[in-house]
C-alpha cells in the first residue's frame, strides 16, 4: 500500500512538470518567432530561461552560455518591440 502511494505521488509530480524542451543554440537561432503565437512562444522561451537559470551578470558566464543567454534574451525581447498592438 505504501509503495503504491509513493508511486502515485511520483506520477502526479511528473504530470505537474512542464514538458518544455530545452532548445539547442542552433534551434534558438532558427526559432520561428511569430507575433500570432507570442503567448505560447514566450511561455516556452521563459521556461527555458527558468531551467537554464543563467547568472544575471553576463561576465559570469562562459562563452557558450553567454552566447546562448544572449540569443535567448534577444528572442524574448523580440516580442516586446515587434508585436506591439
Amino acid at each position: 500500500m505504501k509503495i503504491s502511494l509513493v508511486v502515485l505521488a511520483l506520477l502526479l509530480a511528473g504530470c505537474n512538470e512542464t514538458s518544455s524542451k530545452v532548445l539547442t543554440y542552433d534551434e534558438l537561432v532558427n526559432y520561428p518567432s511569430q507575433c500570432a503565437k507570442a503567448d505560447a512562444q514566450l511561455r516556452e522561451l521563459k521556461e527555458i530561461q527558468r531551467v537554464k537559470n543563467f547568472d544575471q551578470d553576463p561576465d559570469n558566464l562562459n562563452p557558450a552560455d553567454r552566447a546562448y543567454n544572449s540569443r535567448l534574451k534577444a528572442s524574448i525581447w523580440w516580442y516586446a518591440y515587434r508585436c506591439e498592438k
Partner: protein, 178 residues
C-alpha cells in the same frame, strides 16, 4: 582651540567624503521631416539581406542600399539593414547636438562602473542598438541598447533594454542586460 580643530576636521571629512562627478553625454537630435520608406526591395539569402529603398527627408528623396548579415532570421536582418541605412543617412545629413548631464555625488572613490540591471542612468549613457525603435513594455517607454566594454582585457559587446521612469527625460532604468 580644541573645538576649532574638531570643527575643521569635521568639515574636511564632509568635503572628502562627498566626491561628485558630472555625467554627461551628447547625442545628435535630428529635427527633420522624414517620410516613410518606399519602393522597398528585400533580397534575402541565407544569413544575409540586402535592402534597396527610397526615403524622403526634408522634401529630398534619397535612394539607399544596405546589407546586413548574421545568424538571425532573414526578416530581422532586413529590418536591421533598413534601420541602419536610414540612420546613416540622417547622420550624414547632420542636425543639432543636444547634451544632457546630471551631477552624482557619492562617498568613496569614484570608479567607472559597468552598467548593470536595475541601474538608473541617463538615456544617452548607453549606445543605440541596431533596433533603434522605442517600444512600450509594462506601460513604460523603452528601447534596446548596445554597449562595448572591456572584459578580461578584450572588447566585449553587451545588449540590453532601458525603460523611462515616470516620463522623466533623464531617468531611465536598465531592465535587462546580456
Amino acid at each position: 582651540m580644541k573645538y576649532l580643530i574638531l570643527l575643521a576636521m569635521f568639515l574636511s571629512s564632509i568635503v572628502l567624503a562627498d566626491e561628485c562627478k558630472v555625467r554627461s553625454a551628447s547625442q545628435l537630435s535630428n529635427e527633420r521631416a522624414v517620410g516613410p520608406i518606399t519602393n522597398l526591395v528585400k533580397n534575402k539569402t541565407y544569413g544575409k539581406c540586402v535592402v534597396n529603398f527610397d526615403i524622403t527627408v526634408d522634401g529630398v528623396t534619397h535612394h539607399l542600399t544596405e546589407t546586413e548579415s548574421g545568424m538571425e532570421q532573414e526578416e530581422s536582418l532586413c529590418y536591421y539593414a533598413r534601420e541602419r541605412a536610414r540612420k546613416n543617412l540622417l547622420l550624414d545629413l547632420g542636425g543639432k547636438f543636444s547634451t544632457e548631464a546630471v551631477t552624482i555625488c557619492k562617498e568613496g572613490t569614484t570608479t567607472i562602473q559597468k552598467i548593470k540591471k536595475g541601474d538608473h542612468i541617463l538615456e544617452s549613457e548607453v549606445g543605440k542598438s541596431k533596433i533603434d525603435k522605442y517600444f512600450t513594455y509594462n506601460n513604460a517607454r523603452c528601447r534596446m541598447f548596445t554597449e562595448r566594454n572591456e572584459f578580461k582585457g578584450e572588447l566585449a559587446v553587451y545588449h540590453g533594454v532601458i525603460c523611462q521612469i515616470d516620463n522623466s527625460d533623464t531617468n531611465w532604468m536598465v531592465v535587462d542586460k546580456w
